[in-house]
């Protein structure tokens, strides 16, 4: 059995656990504890990481890992990102500085973004439309990063699947470079 992985990252409350749960064939395993951070309006928060999986034909596994969102766990990002197919960065547009949040993960996963695939999914845009997607695109251009940026509601499984569709498209495009 060969194992493959896709990483979901983003700030606390951005929707990593929800996104993995939307597509995992098993109930996601997570290491939730009671949230003591009063600035985040949720009862539980992930102290370790989320895990979900999909079984592919032939028995191979596609493992879905949700990184802990807090920067103090960034050492785990390098470990989890090693050998991953791609990365989904979930951004919570209701936070005070979403673009600064984005920069944290763009920097933390720079190698994976360069070699693999990356899709940026911006949540809560219905209630918090700024910054808009055009600003995200311009910001990424200033960082010399080129990847899809879309608005998404991870509570909708279909939207999470569409996210992964774009991730796979990028991989296919890059694979076409390696295997013309």
């Amino acid at each position: 059995m060969i194992e493959h992985k896709i990483i979901f990252t983003g700030t606390t409350g951005a929707g990593k656990t929800t996104a993995i749960a939307a597509v995992s064939e098993v109930p996601p395993v997570n290491t939730d504890v009671r949230n003591t951070d009063e600035s985040v309006a949720k009862a539980m928060t992930t102290a370790g990481m989320d895990y979900g999986e999909l079984t592919l034909s032939g028995g191979d596994k596609l493992r879905l890992y949700g990184t802990p969102g807090q920067q103090r766990f960034d050492f785990m990002w390098q470990i989890l990102g090693r050998g991953a197919l791609g990365l989904v960065i979930l951004v919570d547009n209701s936070r005070p500085q979403p673009l600064a949040d984005l920069d944290l993960y763009v920097d933390g996963f720079a190698r994976l973004i360069e070699d693999g695939a990356c899709v940026i999914a911006v949540g809560r845009m219905q209630t918090h439309p700024q910054p808009d997607l055009s600003q995200y695109g311009a910001h990424l251009q200033s960082r010399n990063v080129l990847c899809p940026v879309i608005a998404v509601d991870v509570r909708e499984p279909e939207q999470v699947v569409q996210l992964l569709d774009l991730l796979l498209l990028q991989l296919e495009s890059k694979a076409g470079e390696a295997h013309p």
Partner: protein
Amino acid sequence: MDTLHRTERNRTELSFTLDGLGDREQTLFKSFVRLVDHRTMHHWTSVPAGGQLRVVGPQHPLAADKTSGNVLVLGGTAGARHQLPLPIHADALEAVLNDIGAWLADTAAPQHHDAPAGLDDQVMVRLTRWPTPELLTTRERIRLATLMTGRPMSLADASLRCGIRREECAAFAAALVRSGMLVTVGPAQAPRIPHTAPPAAGLIARIRSRLGLSPAFSGAAR
């Protein structure tokens, strides 16, 4: 042809006129348009007459017109190009308004269904940034742009890989070039050597199958 006005948020301003609808349907439609305004690619306002979009009921003479891109049939009817079934769903309204808005934008702008001047469809092109939402008006365009983020490619290759007609690829590329988001690259540009090996052949197809996604590449240029 009406000029497409830009709002201060850089969204194109478009207008619609309700024609032959009852008071309840008019109020309902206007309310929903306001509700989805923050989601639509264009800013839609209601005008008493002469709107760029005519919203009609299923009994209206225009309802059976299969070709008009600027007619929306509220209540839906088989054969209409643009229709919105009742009850109105916000997602459906957003999608149809974006579709119609894109059509209006394309018909207002000079038509460049061929490759942009000086841009042969065999020439390699690359995105300079992720396109703005105004250009990503369809799911096909989002997928095509995503494909372009992976590596420089020709329009012919992009069309083949996405299964999108070359004319549609060319129209999208033309819009990107006009906006400065697509440039040509030299044919001698060496491919970047990645730090990691590419995914094994067949893996991505198996993941697609498991997720219920159709194959990315139809392999047929239309």
